[in-house]
């Protein structure tokens, strides 16, 4: 899918876990965004909340499926940024 040239405002849902939840001060929010890609969206959130981890350390899941950070943001997305994991 190509990324549109003119940014439009989309309403998305975000959920936060672990470090991002603590830094955002919330577990979930609805948010209007003009970000075209998830990488841009993360930049927007970083500016807002001061997330300490760089986008290069993030993965992103949309509607419970991993997608590329360069994929286009869609209206109604359920977005979760995934910092480095530590299971086991």
């Amino acid at each position: 899918m190509s990324v549109p040239n003119v940014p439009s405002t989309k309403i998305i849902r975000l959920r936060y876990f672990a470090l991002l939840r603590e830094q955002a001060g919330t577990a979930a929010e609805q948010r209007p965004t003009t970000a075209r890609t998830y990488a841009e969206l993360y930049g927007e959130l970083q500016a807002c909340y001061g997330f300490s981890l760089p986008v290069g350390q993030m993965k992103v899941a949309v509607n419970d499926t991993f997608v590329e950070l360069s994929a286009p943001v869609q209206e109604g997305d359920d977005v979760v940024f995934i910092p480095p994991v530590a299971g086991g």
Partner: protein, 144 residues
């Protein structure tokens, strides 16, 4: 029908109950692994752990990991369970078991599952220290 299960729980793991479904007369080997909360990490005394999990994606990924292990290592069955929430020293953090006709497949299958859980499962660990503020820690070989 091969047994293929992945679960998450906030309760202490009951390994005897978890392994029950793996009983199978065709299996010649059963290998299990337990991760435990230890009292130190990177030189710091640890007093407790907390896991935060993204449940819907963790269940999907966990089931995929167990199913792939069964396929790749010709297992008869495999089950894994990860704990979340607040854990104390000595608690079991994760439990993995694999059955196979022979031991090599069972060892390899169990090792694959725990390695993939550490690399891929969307679950995060916060360490509480005796002498320093709590911190979210990352797996050294995390997902990048």
């Amino acid at each position: 029908m091969k047994i293929c299960q992945f679960s998450l729980t906030a309760e202490p793991l009951n390994t005897a109950a978890l392994s029950g479904p793996l009983s199978n007369d065709a299996a010649g080997a059963f290998v299990s692994f337990e991760g435990w909360v230890r009292n130190h990490n990177a030189g710091k005394p640890v007093i407790a752990l907390e896991y935060d999990v993204y449940p819907s994606l963790a269940l999907k990924e966990g089931e995929r990991i167990v199913a792939t292990a069964i396929e790749q290592f010709d297992l008869i069955g495999a089950i894994a369970c990860h704990r979340y929430g607040r854990l104390q020293l000595g608690d079991i953090t994760v439990w993995v078991a694999a059955t196979a006709t022979h031991r090599r497949q069972a060892f390899a299958g169990a090792a694959y599952i725990i390695d993939e859980i550490k690399h891929r499962l969307p679950i995060w660990k916060k360490e509480y220290y005796a002498t320093a503020p709590a911190a979210w820690v990352f797996c050294r070989e995390h997902h990048h």
